[in-house]
Assembly symmetry: C2
């Protein structure tokens, strides 16, 4: 029996083995969407006829055979408009799919539609609600992809991350998420924001699903052979731990204790003071690069840009070239230093966010713990902690060293098993 | 009197002041194109009617008012097909212009058409000939942009560089060229090859033209205030100087002497042995990232890929994840070291290529001296050396430290003045 809460690995195995079909899967998920989309508003473009047509043509082969996927509306798609949640692009219809969308299709995935993003994947939020509490934000910017996952509208979803855009919604919506190392996944047909950080990532219902998509989108993706037990984990609070409220801190420390009880090593990773400037350097570079990436929109359609984008342009204009260059140079210098400090560990642990999803749809809370590691291009995973029924999700962030993505996913698999993590989608 | 050998700054000033019009300029360049394009084959898509229509609508304002520009066929354009010199994309018509094409248009430029590239900006060459000798290659991959510049088909041209794709054709065709620091120019709507190196750059007839385009495509582009005389220049041969033939070596050393005679300091910059591996690391990363960038074409249309692309896929398949990661880590570690070594200099000097344009159209010669610096994302300029009439062009490479682009262009202006460099376009 197909349920919209099965993971992608189970779904594709069922299709490939002939136990079910893409058509049957599509109908199951369409039913869920039709029932709940009016509340959630995950989609900005959705066409049940198109989904049914694609399902009917699905050949039942491939790593993602018949797996429903949501696509953040920052990826070009030939079958759907691509609007970047900007009135400038209301009528925008790309002529071809983004590279990764093509790869998903070639692997047998069913594209369910385009999901809400904030304006140009920056801060101005859309109408999407958090399925765990409709009064709360799902986080941004990959809001629709995350909320749709939590609501059971698809089994996988694409997002992007420049600051906290993938892991924050994962933390707030209770999802597994994986942001690969910078540069591993093609950005062809993805609207750029800050190229020093922009990365394609995805949501799944299990660590094995994160890995499954990696095999499709990162050709040659490899997992190191060596299995080391116990795991050596570095718990890193960074200089902004005061953002973590007591409920989140409690659950994260409980998770660390569970890992220790299971025989793994969890030790504190203290960073030298020089790392305290990373947050501001990320912000500064994000502003300057974001303004450059959106120059044509700023020149032609200024009146149609949100106040948050205009504020970014103002901060960029107030930043000198030398300040930006110095910020880039500091990060380039700290990167190898961070590698040394993290050498003893298989992966690092920390908070994805300091709080559960805040109330309201306009403000989505800080992304500091996420962007700290993203500043160096390192791979990141969100593990949803097991929580009492009815509690809002809390995410454990796991971080791998640059390009040590295979080890990170393998380690995340062990950690999730110890913590008995599950995606908190409604049954 | 408008001539197709005027630089862009002169042309736009003449338009803005009312001395000429975009229409008159278009006719002058169209005449040149109609006469010589059958020999040169710079264009893969050209439509005189479209050029005339654009010229008639030009408002005569902007930094590039009425300036004819050639666009390498690796940039998406809404008015022309975009084929990447691949049969896979014969019928490919993008729905929108690449970001930088929009910025050029907004600054008043006249798009003259799409210029020949190698297949996906890699190695498989097209029909374009070198205007200095039709039996010789113009270099690759920005072949049509460079040859069209040398033939006087446009006053500026866009290219891209991953290994040597911008500076090699500049060296072979006698053009000023500027490849900015990695990440400064938007790649939106540009076909990716190896994201660790891919950079948009451009050709001009003067250093001031290189700067003019920088002001349009790199908002906030700044030139440092401090003017230091004498210039401190570091002549760097790298570990591959044995590729430089005696004619090129002679002319480059003569140029260094001229700079010394003008009162500037030119000293040898010797690199430690650890830098000898940069060439191979660039190649390895280029292979692995190139294969990832072209995965969808490889999966769907393998039979339509050239042997050189297929060989790249084979090399990528024979490279382990760990080897690629190690190559990236070596470059990340050497970058700050290179910055230290180059600290005494305003800019570095070297060969763009070890030879003049070779005979034939299939092979375009090595790019080692160019990719050495591109491996670190540093900005590069080609200065065409003054040569006896009828001699083939030789290029002096100038390199700036990462993000020190303004200083590089300023220094290049002084160097070009001392060397009395001019673009070697036919009058």
């Amino acid at each position: 029996m197909i349920r919209p809460t099965l993971d992608a690995t189970s779904l594709s195995e069922a299709v490939v083995s002939g136990d079910t079909t893409a058509v049957a899967i599509a109908e199951t998920f369409l039913e869920r969407i039709q029932a709940q989309e009016p509340d959630i508003q995950a989609f900005v473009a959705f066409d049940a006829r198109q989904v049914r047509a694609d399902a009917a043509q699905n050949n039942g082969r491939g790593l993602l055979a018949g797996v429903p996927v949501g696509i953040k509306d920052i990826f070009d798609t030939a079958a759907y408009p691509t609007q970047f949640f900007s009135p400038i692009y209301t009528d925008h219809q790309p002529s071809r799919d983004a590279h990764v969308v093509t790869l998903l299709r070639q692997a047998g995935a069913l594209i369910m539609g385009k999901t809400h993003t904030t304006e140009f994947a920056y801060m101005h939020t859309g109408p999407t609600r958090n399925p765990h509490d409709l009064a709360r934000t799902p986080g941004s910017s990959s809001a629709g992809s995350a909320a749709g996952m939590a609501a059971g509208f698809f089994a996988l979803a694409l997002g992007t991350q420049t600051a906290g855009s993938l892991l924050k919604p994962a933390s707030y919506c209770g999802l597994f998420a994986y942001k690969p190392s910078l540069g591993l996944v093609s950005l062809e047909g993805v609207k750029p924001l800050a190229p020093s950080f922009d990365t394609v990532g995805w949501y799944g219902r299990s660590v094995r699903d994160l890995h499954l998509v990696a095999r499709v989108l990162i050709p040659g993706f490899a997992v190191p052979d060596v299995e080391r037990r116990p795991l050596r984990l570095g718990f890193c609070r960074t200089a902004r731990w005061d953002q973590v409220d007591s409920e989140v801190a409690h659950d994260l420390e409980q998770a660390a204790d569970q890992l220790r009880s299971a025989g793994h090593q969890v030790s504190e990773l203290q960073l030298p003071d020089e790392f305290a400037g990373v947050f501001d350097d990320h912000l500064l570079i994000n502003d300057c690069e974001g303004a450059r990436s959106l120059t044509k929109e700023f020149q032609q359609h200024r009146a149609q840009l949100s106040p948050s984008i205009l504020a970014m342009f103002e901060r960029a204009a107030a930043t000198t070239w030398e300040q930006e260059t110095a910020a880039k140079a500091r990060l380039a210098k700290l990167g190898p230093r961070l590698t040394e400090l993290c050498q003893p560990f298989d992966a690092m642990l920390g908070a994805s966010c300091g709080m559960v999803a805040p109330m309201g749809l306009e403000s989505t809370g800080p992304s500091d713990f996420i962007k700290f590691w993203g500043a160096f291009g390192w791979p990141q995973v969100n593990i949803p902690l097991a929580r009492a029924k009815g509690s809002l999700p809390i995410g454990l962030q796991m971080i791998g060293k640059f390009r040590d993505d295979g080890r990170l996913l393998r380690t995340a698999g062990h950690v999730a098993a110890v913590l008995q993590s599950t995606t908190q989608a409604q049954e």
